[in-house]
Symmetry: C2
Subunit: 203 residues, 2 copies
Amino acid sequence: MNAPRPRTRIQRRNRKLILDAALDVFSAQGYRGATLDQIAASAGLSKPNLLYYFDNKEEIHRTLLTDLLDAWLAPLHDLAPDGDPQAEILGYVRRKLQMSREYPRESRLFANEILQGAPRIEGFIRGDLKALVDEKAAVIRGWAAQGRIADLDPYHLIFSIWALTQHYADFEAQMRMVRGEGVDTFEGAESYLDTLFARLIAP
Amino acid sequence: MNAPRPRTRIQRRNRKLILDAALDVFSAQGYRGATLDQIAASAGLSKPNLLYYFDNKEEIHRTLLTDLLDAWLAPLHDLAPDGDPQAEILGYVRRKLQMSREYPRESRLFANEILQGAPRIEGFIRGDLKALVDEKAAVIRGWAAQGRIADLDPYHLIFSIWALTQHYADFEAQMRMVRGEGVDTFEGAESYLDTLFARLIAP
DNA sequence: GTCTATAACAAGATAGAC
DNA sequence: GTCTATCTTGTTATAGAC
């Protein structure tokens, strides 16, 4: 029997509870490290009740990942070819950093997936993501050709934006331990990345 | 009964085989995702034979991680306070990138550990790593105070070096899929990072 | 819809022959 | 030292009462 489409209020609420708990556990432990017991306990439900809402463990994970992928493309999608190059690139950096701050668990879920060779999202990466990156890389290359930004490899540029912004979410544990518990690890990040990319892309 | 200290040639050889296979599997699947069956198969030994050389799964993992941590500090350790600031920082970036290229599995093993909250290396991070980072941050701050490099937060600077260099190892799967199978993902990385950090730290 | 109880199946670890 | 066979535990998933 398939899990029901969420019709009632209580069903929608429980599905949300489960997905939120599962995001906690999967992002912190990885797919195999997570157990249904942990997720159930964190959601305040029994394990069989979890499996009333989702057919199996994998479906919970796939749901989280799928929901995430749409949001994942948005910041880059918004990079406008007819905008001011500097403002567009710095704006993209800010939106990406904002995502790391607001959705660190999602970032870690994604990082776990990539680290393991992206087995479940290979289609997404080779498909939608690659298409979008190729499109925006061409835009950036055009700006460089016009001398409106420095002449940089657009792929390295995009990857460096991902690396720097996602690091604040994915390696947050390390930053916190190195800097000490009291520190907000995002403090100063936006201004640092603003400076870094402004100096990098200045023509 | 404890596993034997490696005395004979064959023991040393088998321990190496096991650790190399385990590094493959742990770095790709994470601690919980890895199974002794996979490691044994990859090493060409039987599962009980693995456990003749190591008491249990955790000891294999701990051995890999411990061996890694020494090497992990070296590039930053070599940043010399009395050297030329620009050359020292760019040299550190190059050494770190070189480690990502030569030891991508080790980088992913480390990344897996941090993503999960660094449960097994918290002591290392709060201890040796924090001490080294604090020490070198002070050096960098001194350079900035003397106007020999730009005035940047040294912690954000160090973290950004980690983020950018390790990304080439940890997110290699994504880069390969976005760029296409034929591409060497490290191609152009050194010159890109050279440019990035040279422009960033120029006074 | 939710629960207790339990089946079914990995996966870590051990026993004991060779 | 290495293997086959097996024990034991943890985990996913199902049965069936309520």
